[in-house]
Amino acid sequence: MGLKMKERKELELLANQNRRHIIEMVYQAGVGHVGGALSIIDILTVIYELDVDFNNPVRSRVILSKGHAVPAQYAVLCSKGVIDESEFKTFRQLNSRLQGHPYTCDIPEVDATTGLLGQGFSLAVGHAIVKKNNKENTHVYAIAGDGEMQEGEMWEAIMYAAHHKLNNLIFIIDYNRLSSGGPTNDIINMESFIDKVKAFHLYAIEIDGHNMEEIVSAINEARAVVDKPTCIIANTVKGKGISYMESVAKWHSSGLTDEEYEIAKNDLQKIEVKIKNEL
């Protein structure tokens, strides 16, 4: 079930607009985890487009376990009208509802209060248990970082989900290969994710996490699985879309200078033109 070219390009445009939101937010605030937000933004954009309906009280959930990538979630929520662009400058500042990590008490639409790595898959299991009991036709998406998978609780959650065949659960590992301290696999080797999650009895799909065709196809495939939870291993690039940020460890967390901001804007502008030309 291939995506029509138009649909694909529209998703790409939307993701590019969300990238711009991320850059605006981190530039205006002067702080933030920009690299890991840019690596998940394509996937996050697709999930919200395909499967999250804020007008329906019974809806799918998105648990951002790698909570530091919250600029990506705020960017999407801005596209959805939950957050206003004028709030971006308040990100991580005093008296703002745009907390440094997702916080449901201020913005219920973020779906989970996260931030301490390692807990999000378990939170997602909790949501999935209730949704299954309710016989809802909804899903729970939980997005983790590759380094975050070094946390033991994530595997506890996977064990539970597999044992109880929670097929309404879709785990996503953002495999951008960079952690705060350097290459993830130099810190603790996580290879091979695909073998590991298969051994834990999950349905595993490996994709290019920046290819809209593959993202949409993986999510549709995951939603059709009946006897298992799915884990999508998304090969991504930290800092994706900004020339000087891609796969550069420094951009795990950093503000942008005026000059860097201009280059970033220019990079995204070029991408936009390219997508529009292909439309």
Binding site: D111, A112, T113, G115, L116, G118, S122, L123, E153, Y160
Partner: protein, 318 residues
């Protein structure tokens, strides 16, 4: 005072079944100790609302938070050391989200006697009461425990209920308990006040009687709610009596004695607060009553401390 002895743990499963029958939103989460905590009764009656995580306490607490965020009321029931210790940051995140999660912690303090110091949860009150949004309740009998479960269901937000594994007097409640209220069980004078938490009830009764036999007239106060604390009442007591003795099956650091001291200290003049509990040490294996005896939770210790202060205060000598 004549009474039989019982444990609070033995009724946990029955109480949860009772509320689970009335309220379909109640979930119970276990980590391979359902038999010990008696939640296996809930498991049999409501298998769809029973979550068995296996030996994965952190996972269990985060799952409970997820369940709560879907509008349900999960009770995570496990030994106090695991609930308050193993999964502390998970509990903290639940509190941060003000998630509607309820914790029932069995085997608090020295109640896991034979298991030894690794399992003695002498820090749980300190670890739980420091968390914003958390309510900490310490029931002293069956009626109060049942009330705690009902209060927890009514209250929106996280609640920690400390349920004794060791014996407590099998007596009915003297009043309907409420979050944030303490209860005067005996008021015979102002020589002293013994303030106790639920799992130390028997020692409190025995100590009160021993003081009375020495000719001292005092008050016996069931704290019931450690957080929020009945601040005005504690302030009043601290100005009324000559000595406050706090009794707790917990470390003397950060627990009931700490909480009472924090309140009393806000008064210009207040009674000295003598904290009786586990000193700043790791304990050892043994029958819980004997460990309590050895580590200072005994009547003689109460009398000794009271006597020491009486000398200083030049009051009634015991």
């Amino acid at each position: 005072m004549n009474y039989n002895l019982t444990t609070i743990r033995e009724i946990i499963g029955d109480v949860l079944c009772e509320v689970g029958e009335q309220n379909q939103n109640i979930y119970v989460i276990d980590s391979d100790l359902a038999k010990s905590t008696t939640t296996d009764k809930f498991q049999k009656q409501f298998p769809n609302r029973f979550v068995e995580t296996g030996i994965a306490e952190q996972n269990a607490v985060s799952i409970a938070t997820g369940i709560a965020q879907e509008g349900k009321i999960p009770f995570y029931v496990n030994f106090a050391i695991f609930v308050s210790g193993t999964a502390w940051t998970q509990v903290r995140q639940a509190c941060y989200a003000n998630a509607n999660v309820k914790f029932i912690a069995t085997h608090p303090g020295l109640d896991a006697g034979y298991d030894g110091a690794s399992h003695h949860a002498n820090e749980d009150i300190a670890l739980m009461r420091v968390l914003p949004n958390m309510v900490v309740l310490v029931p002293s009998n069956h009626d109060e425990f049942k009330a705690c479960v009902k209060l927890a269901i009514k209250h929106q937000g996280p609640v920690y209920i400390r349920a004794a594994r060791d014996v407590v007097p099998d007596l009915p409640s003297q009043s309907d308990v409420e979050i944030g209220q303490s209860y005067c069980i005996k008021n015979e004078g102002n020589d002293f006040a013994i303030i106790y938490e639920g799992t130390s009830t028997e020692l409190a009764y025995q100590s009160f009687e021993a003081c009375r036999n020495k000719g001292l007239k005092g008050q016996l106060i069931n704290i019931f709610s450690i957080k929020p604390m009945d601040n005005e009442y504690i302030k009043k007591i601290s100005q009324e009596v000559k000595t406050i003795i706090t009794l707790e099956n917990h470390s003397v650091i950060g627990g009931l004695g700490g909480a009472v001291s924090e309140v009393a200290a806000t008064q210009s003049y207040h009674a000295p607060v003598v904290k009786i509990g586990i000193e700043d040490v790791f304990t050892e294996s043994g029958p819980s009553q004997q460990i309590k005896e050895k580590y200072g939770l005994n009547v003689e210790h109460v009398l000794k401390e009271l006597n020491g202060l009486s000398n200083i205060n030049n009051n009634n000598k015991i």
